[in-house]
């Protein structure tokens, strides 16, 4: 949503809002049911992402330790893969990952400026070199997302303020989304990316303190900005992660405020996550978010070196 408001437009909006039937929005609560990374398996250090496959098995990107840690559906440690380095299969402070419909993993190997592809059991398959920016800055992939329907791989290039669009069939980058700026679909240090069921793209635009959504359509791709700058309810200070539930509601984590807020996919604020007693639910640097197939919300608490699992209630 643009900050540029002309008087006629504002008056029209005011009339529309006044004329709209008032819609009831209930509080959204979350009940903590498990913690991953403490008690089973190796100690996590500053984890940055989490994914769950169709069998409920959990993958945590333990970036400072340069590895992906694999847990079973009960959160018990199974194995891990990756180590520090720049050879195939090695990582340099990776920050994000995505999973395709086959359960294979794409890892944004940030420090090595590449995306690596692994089988579901952690075998290295191949990697994708990323294009350098026009002024020579090297790519800085911080997150990836897969559109299995359209065979698209989206790579967040943080330092270059873009989302690179890779055609998995043609095996080449075709275009990008964003670009440095504050207007419309422009981005400043985008960090995370998630797709909803329709393939709509949600990008956490950290310094613009918003989450921007884009349509998969190549021509009219910018859709909406969700959230705005501030430290009050419905406002974002350090948005870091985003996840979309099966109601197409958008969950946004704020690592500094330590909260998760919920919006509809057009940017309307719905609620901040509360605990079962209706109190503000606080997290320690909540970063990436992920919904599994059961609708459980996984929250990466980076500075607490853990992933917490919540059941959403209303």
């Amino acid at each position: 949503m643009s900050y540029h408001l002309s008087v006629p437009w504002f008056l029209c909006l005011t009339l529309i809002l006044v004329g709209m039937p008032l819609q009831a929005v209930g509080a959204i609560t979350a009940k903590k049911i498990a913690t991953i990374g403490i008690g089973s398996g190796p100690e996590l250090r500053h984890p940055s992402d989490v994914l769950v496959n169709s069998r409920g098995e959990i993958f945590v990107l333990d970036g400072v330790n340069n590895r992906v840690v694999h847990y079973d559906a009960q959160g018990q440690y199974l194995n891990q893969f990756g180590k520090g380095g720049s050879k195939p299969g090695e990582f340099n402070n990776p920050l994000g990952m995505a999973m395709n419909r086959d359960g294979n993993l794409y890892v944004a190997d940030t420090g090595n400026s590449r995306v690596q592809f692994f089988s579901s059991d952690g075998q290295y398959l191949h990697h994708i070199e990323l294009p350098h920016d026009g002024d020579g800055r090297k790519p800085d992939p911080t997150d990836v997302a897969i559109d299995d329907v359209r065979n698209k791989l989206y790579v967040v290039d943080n330092d270059n303020h873009k989302v690179l669009v890779y055609d998995l069939k043609q095996k080449r980058f075709k275009r990008y989304i964003g670009g440095m700026g504050m207007k419309g679909g422009e981005l400043r240090w985008p960090f995370s990316i998630k797709l909803d069921r329709q393939g709509r793209i949600f990008v956490v635009d950290v310094i613009n303190t918003t989450v921007k959504s884009y349509l998969p359509d190549e021509k009219r791709h910018f859709d909406a900005s969700i959230g705005k700058w501030g430290v009050e309810r419905g406002e974002l200070f350090r948005p870091k992660g985003v996840a979309i539930d099966d109601r197409d509601e958008v969950y946004i984590s704020d690592s500094f405020l330590g909260v998760i807020q919920v919006f509809d996919n057009q940017g309307r604020f719905l609620s901040v996550l509360l605990d079962e007693e209706g109190q503000l639910l606080k997290f320690i640097t909540p970063t990436r978010l992920h919904f599994d197939q059961k609708g459980l919300l996984y929250v990466v608490e980076m500075f607490a070196h853990r992933v917490t699992l919540y059941e959403i209630g209303r």
């Binding site: 540029h4 929005v25 700026g181 009050e232 309810r233 690592s255 500094f256 405020l257 500075f303």
Partner: protein
């Protein structure tokens, strides 16, 4: 939240913010207030709805821009990734008040409590550091050449003279390894604070860019990265370099003070390892003293850790005391450098152990030789050619037990290493068992001389490694027991030299084996050493060996096709598998009895077969002798084992077989009474071999029951057929090696020789009852047969022994003259069947044949003829006898001999004539063997008989010739056939035959 309240609030907020938004947030522009509030959280006040105050956090009271979590909110990877460098490694101290050692300028703010925080050094409004955004660290001021570090740490650049590691010193280049680790350098490659330290990102202590002292990491790695490039220092490890080692355990004898001279407590790296910091303090060293922690860089520091080395003082190795002007390799006089530096440089040594003198090579021995050499400081104490070897290995089990150090190629103690000078000598300790320090002019001995152990019976330096040789104590070879007053070549009696030193000199010996006494005579050096004492007029003259003793030198018989366990020796006394027998082959000069750990402790003790310094006891199995003479050990349990057959018999030394052992009953190894090391009496006989046998096999002797009564196989005679065969076999014995079943010939002196004669031992092996099975156990006076009886080859079933020589006679096998075909139950005069005697001995016996010994006949004689050959034949070919089927009634051929070709000896078809005594004679008459060869069924081929009874014809029938034209026709012409039929036809009756007698 109530949605109506939200919508209402939005409406009014829109109204309120309209003018602000229109000004503060132009399209695409930057809202500076918002941007500032990204970090200056308190500035958010301007944007907070004071009415709602529906805040998601508590606002901080302080108006400082940022705390740690504010930094982390961007440095978590979302803007920059500092997770590892700042939060996972050691970082510059924050959250505490500055120490007294630093002075914080006012420009570097502390927090409200006076503690250091991120913002003390960092600000997003810092100076232009001329780096890109990716590298910017937003310091409060430019940190050129670590200048910002020095603002607080103000005395750290005072220089080495003030005890500070130098900074701002220019280098051509710094090692790439340290640059790769993140080191920064100043202008012109100067060393700066950040060359070694980093405020963020260190994985070690003290913010060092390379861990330098933690447990589990190479100690002093950071120091070595630069200082390892110095000359003669290797950066690839700590042991090979010629500098004081680091990353090693502190010595056991270290006596560390509570504090060093610089006020610091002694420092050890991780795992209590020695580290560069143990001796040097990079920021608190003593002044003008190489950053050392003590004021005195000499002996005091060294002996703090190596306190036990203090014993070097006042010894010959106290160089400053006795050779004060002696310069080290760097030219510094010993008096100036001190005791330790006379031999060791802490850094940049010239050889192993940081050696302070010029050396060649890496051997530890070279250190000693650098002084103990001609023209050098210790030239009066040189080691000569015949000295204890160095550079040799020691069995690891022995090494571990010895308590003496071995050294590997790096010069370090290693149980799998080699012997070095330092194995026996401790250069820092003159006398291990006393407080004596020696001094310059004191001669050493076995109790001093820098030996690691005193060479006395109690500590026994030599025996530490030569543990088996320690068994010499208490034996007659222990000269201290003998109270010997003789001295070794160095003029030392046993009380000074020790037991080992009485015979061996470790340095400058007279010859091999480090021999330290005179040598006697002998085939090799070993024998010469023994005879140094075991000879007339010397210490052990009562134990001399005479001429008739076990032979020495040469190739022992056991070397043929058999591994041996006794040592052989070259002439020079060295062990060699190609060597010969020497004294030490049978004797272990250091052990009174096999396996003993010490001797009986008595002087002049008489030994026996179980001790006497024998390597192996000559026990009831004759183990020692049998080691070489394995075949002869088969005598055990036979009648020639006198313990079985004559236990009361005594040898020339009046010892019974039980006292001497089985071999010693007949042989004496030393001082025997004749050839063959014979220790018993001898009997009659031209050949010595025969005489030895007759020493027992004679009347009133121990083997009188087995003496020979009657005629016997000829000996010492020219038997051409036998000699030819035996020469061949005997020659083979000497030419290719021993074959036990060969039949040797012997000279009259009893030596095997192809030119010798047949004697008892040609057919008999007195040490082996059965050529295939050895001996029966305890079988006194067992009656033998053709398969045993000490024969060299079995005569069963087909007389293999006999036909070795009598090859032509072998054709009798399977003929009707082979009793196995015609008379298996027939017995010879020894009452043996052919199955017991063999084919030949059914008719002939080599001993005790019939009177006169004709043909060694073993059967009876017929009285139907005067001709002896005929009497042999008719004994069987007669009624009721085994040859009754082949009786020839008219057997006597007329005496008249018609001279023909066949009677000429040189004739190809020669047939013999015989006189009545059976001897061949041209004046003889025709008799049975004239025409018949009783050993060959057919003359046509050289083969054995058909294996069954058979009616012969004129081509067989034991006739000598294959053609009818010969035997008969030579003399009788065309009448031959008729005459033959007359005498041989079954149809001719006696009457008609008489009528047809052609000569009637």
């Amino acid at each position: 939240m109530n949605s109506y309240r939200v919508l209402g609030g939005l409406f009014f907020l829109c109204l309120l913010l309209l003018p602000i938004s229109a000004v503060a947030a132009p399209e695409g522009g930057q809202n500076s207030s918002k941007e500032c509030s990204m970090c200056h959280l308190r500035w958010m006040d301007d944007f907070i709805n004071e009415e709602k105050k529906d805040l998601l956090m508590e606002m901080p009271e302080a108006r400082v821009a940022a705390d740690e979590m504010m930094c982390y909110s961007c440095h978590d990877g979302s803007i920059a990734d500092s997770r590892f460098r700042v939060w996972e490694t050691s970082k510059h101290k924050s959250g505490i008040k500055p120490s007294e050692n630093v002075t914080i300028p006012e420009e570097f703010p502390l927090d409200a409590e006076g503690k250091m925080t991120c913002a003390t050094c960092h600000t997003s409004h810092g100076v232009d550091t001329r780096v890109d955004m990716a590298s910017a660290i937003f310091l409060r001021e430019a940190n050129v050449g670590s200048s910002m570090c020095k603002r607080c740490h103000r005395d750290k650049d005072d220089g080495a003279d003030e005890g500070m590691h130098p900074v701002d010193v220019e280098f051509d280049a710094l090692p790439q390894e340290i640059l790769d680790a993140g080191a920064k350098v100043g202008v012109k490659n100067t060393v700066i604070c950040e060359t070694c330290h980093t405020a963020h990102g260190s994985t070690g202590d003290n913010f060092l860019i390379i861990p330098n002292s933690e447990e589990g990491v190479p100690q002093s790695k950071l120091c070595e990265t630069c200082h390892g490039l110095s000359p003669d220092m290797s950066s690839d490890g700590v042991l090979r370099r010629h500098s004081h080692p680091v990353d090693v355990d502190i010595t056991d004898d270290a006596k560390l003070p509570a504090r060093w001279d610089n006020g610091e407590e002694p420092y050890l790296g991780g795992g209590k390892k020695v580290n560069c910091r143990t001796c040097h303090s990079p920021h608190n060293g003593t002044k003008k003293n190489h950053l050392l922690v003590v004021n005195d860089g000499g002996d005091k520091l060294c002996m703090t850790c190596h306190s036990s080395k203090e014993t070097i003082l006042r010894t010959k190795h106290d160089i400053p005391r006795f050779n004060s002007k002696e310069p080290s390799a760097d030219g510094e006089a010993a008096a100036n450098g001190g005791v330790c530096k006379s031999c060791h440089f802490m850094h940049k040594g010239y050889g192993p152990r940081m050696w302070a003198r010029q050396v060649e090579g890496e051997s530890l021995d070279q250190l000693c030789i650098s002084c103990h050499a001609k023209g050098e400081m210790a030239e009066e104490a040189l080691t000569g050619e015949h000295s204890h070897p160095t550079g040799v290995g020691v069995d690891q089990a022995v090494s571990e037990k010895s308590g003496l150090p071995l050294f590997n190629v790096e010069g370090d103690v290693d149980v799998a290493g080699k012997v070095s000078c330092a194995t026996c000598h401790d250069a820092h300790l003159w006398a291990v068992a006393s407080d004596q320090r020696g001094g310059k002019d004191v001669d050493g001995d076995g109790n001093s001389s820098f030996l690691r152990k005193s060479e006395t019976k109690q500590q026994a330096l030599c025996r530490s490694c030569h543990q088996k040789q320690g068994a010499i104590l208490g034996t007659e070879h222990d000269l201290s027991l003998e109270a010997d007053r003789s001295k070794n070549s160095h003029g030392q009696g046993v009380e000074r030299s020790g037991v080992c030193g009485a015979c061996h000199l470790i340095h400058n010996a007279d010859g091999d084996k480090l021999w330290g006494r005179n040598l006697g005579v002998g085939e090799d050096v070993i024998e010469q050493m023994c005879n140094a004492c075991h000879s007339r007029g010397h210490l052990a003259e009562e134990k001399m060996t005479g001429d008739e003793s076990h032979p020495m030198g040469g190739v022992p018989i056991f070397k043929v096709g058999k591994e041996h366990t006794l040592p052989l020796y070259e002439k020079n006394g060295r062990r060699s598998r190609q060597g010969g027998v020497s004294c030490a082959t049978c004797h272990d000069l250091h052990s009174w009895s096999p396996g003993s750990e010490r001797g009986p402790g008595e002087k002049k003790i008489e030994g026996d077969r179980f001790n006497s310094f024998l390597r192996q006891a000559n026990d009831d199995d004759a183990t020692l002798c049998a080691t070489c003479h394995e075949v002869n050990a088969m005598i055990l349990g036979s009648d020639h084992d006198l313990r079985v057959s004559a236990p009361r018999e005594i040898n020339m030394e009046r010892l019974t077989a039980d006292e001497t052992g089985v071999c010693g009953a007949c042989h004496m190894v030393h001082n025997a009474w004749g050839d063959g090391l014979w220790s018993r009496g001898v009997g009659s006989g031209k050949n010595r071999n025969e005489a030895l046998c007759n020493g027992c096999h004679a009347r009133r002797k121990s083997a009188s029951k087995k003496r020979l009564h009657g005629p016997k196989h000829p000996m010492n005679k020219k038997v051409s057929e036998a000699k030819a065969t035996l020469k061949l076999e005997t020659a083979r014995f000497y030419g290719k090696g021993k074959i036990d079943t060969e039949l040797p010939l012997f000279t009259n002196e009893g030596e095997r020789s192809p030119e010798g004669d047949i004697t008892c031992s040609t057919c008999h092996n007195p040490h082996r009852w059965d050529p295939e099975k050895g001996a029966p156990r305890a079988s006194k006076n067992l009656e033998g047969d053709g398969s045993n009886s000490f024969l060299r080859r079995s005569n069963l079933p087909t007389s293999g022994l006999c036909v070795t020589c009598h090859t032509q006679k072998a054709n009798v096998v399977n003929t009707e003259h082979d009793m196995r075909i015609t008379g298996q139950e027939e017995k010879n005069r020894l009452k043996q069947t052919v199955g017991e005697s063999g084919v030949c001995s059914a008719c002939h016996v080599p001993h005790d044949s019939m009177e006169g010994g004709y043909q060694l006949w073993a059967r009876g004689l017929s009285d139907k003829s005067e001709m002896l050959p005929e009497r042999l034949c008719l004994d069987c070919h007669d009624e009721g006898r085994v040859g009754h089927d082949k009786i020839v009634e008219e057997f006597s051929h007329p005496e008249t001999v018609l001279v023909g070709e066949a009677t000429r000896k040189k004739s190809k078809n020669y047939v013999p004539l015989y006189d009545p005594s059976g001897q061949k004679s041209n004046a003889g008459i025709i008799t049975c063997p004239t025409c018949h060869n009783p050993h060959s069924w057919t003359p046509e081929n050289d083969r054995q008989g058909p294996g069954r009874q058979l009616e012969g014809n004129n081509r067989s029938s034991f006739l000598r010739f294959k053609s009818a034209r010969n035997v008969c026709s030579d003399c009788h012409g065309i009448e031959s056939l008729r005459r033959y039929k007359y005498f041989h036809s079954e149809r001719s009756d006696k009457k008609s035959r008489r009528r047809l007698r052609p000569w009637n």
